[in-house]
Symmetry: C2
Subunit: 198 residues, 2 copies
């Protein structure tokens, strides 16, 4: 399966790289990095990642969308949002981390769906779309082909949940053990919900 | 403080990017990516990162060394190891993740020090140097200016430990909360030690 990671300037590093660590493990999963026009895209933490243009993407498989402060630069960018909506329509699976779901909400991909987002920026999610059922207390939410994670590190747990759902519990647990990661495996257990709106 | 991340082909993504997520948070910490000759360096999970050559590095501050399967390509490379030894001598702090400590052992930087490494590849650490006191049961180990973490995800916990030691508990906890990360904050609590040599 293709795992197509869509980057934009000032994305949050771990939002993308945490899930990538886990999703690259199955032998038939292949990770690639893309941006609207290709070239170097730099995260908020100053990680410069080489990307291919979206026009080069094989749109089958899974789309992975990080969040980050850069979301606020593009959450009203119609070129980005319409491209994103097309990618979501074509993908078999769509995953977002943190306030990446704000972009999914803004482009209309989540209309009529349940979804979650970063707990400290939850108002941004609520503001992005009133056609989405935003779930405040969730480590991650699955609705159809859409997986949305809470803030940053929650993306790792969601990615392991995705492996669990596609390939079984053993594969997910092996990925966690191999990376010495203590998997928070209950999507409804959200220890950070209490920090919301602080 | 500079956080100079030294990359090599087939490094493990989360070994580098987990700590980077945390170490980039303090306003006066600045992350940069380097490799022996500069240019694109690609992780084992297929993340292409643009690096500067080591010759461009301001060697003050902290050096961060990931591990990964690529370690086995360079753990007898005298050019790499002598460069690494020089970087360790000049750095105020040296952090390694996973089997990155095999390279620190092989270059002699850890002589007379305590250190740890990935639990599934622990024999590689033992083989790299008998002048190091290798600690099997540890999430991470601190000895002088050297911080060595166990496998992959343990690097995130170590990085938070580094922030705790330099800037105080509140800064470390704020970094964990902001990234919705459940910090395993006890360096002696190693739930993955039991998987060693399996």
């Amino acid at each position: 399966m293709n795992v197509n990671v869509l980057l934009f300037d000032r994305f949050e590093t771990l939002d993308a790289m945490g899930p990538v660590e886990m999703l690259a493990r199955p032998a038939d999963y292949s990770v690639g990095f893309f941006s609207l026009d290709g070239g170097i895209v730099t995260s908020f933490q100053n990680v410069p990642v080489m990307t291919k243009p979206v026009s080069d993407m094989d749109r089958t498989g899974a789309l992975l969308l990080p969040g980050g402060w850069g979301v606020r630069d593009i959450d009203h960018d119609q070129e980005f949002l319409s491209t994103l909506k097309g990618l979501c329509d074509d993908a078999a699976w769509v995953m977002s981390v943190c306030n990446g779901s704000v972009l999914l909400g803004a482009c209309g991909a989540l209309d009529g769906r349940k979804a979650t987002s970063n707990k400290k920026l939850f108002q941004d999610a609520l503001d992005s779309s009133d056609a989405v059922e935003w779930v405040e207390q969730a480590r991650w939410v699955v609705d159809g082909k859409f997986y949305t994670a809470s803030g940053v590190s929650a993306g790792i747990d969601m990615a392991l949940g995705f492996l669990n759902d596609r390939l079984g519990r053993e594969v997910a647990e092996e990925a966690a053990t191999a990376t010495e990661y203590l998997w928070n495996d209950d999507p409804t257990d959200d220890p950070f919900c209490k920090f919301q709106f602080t």
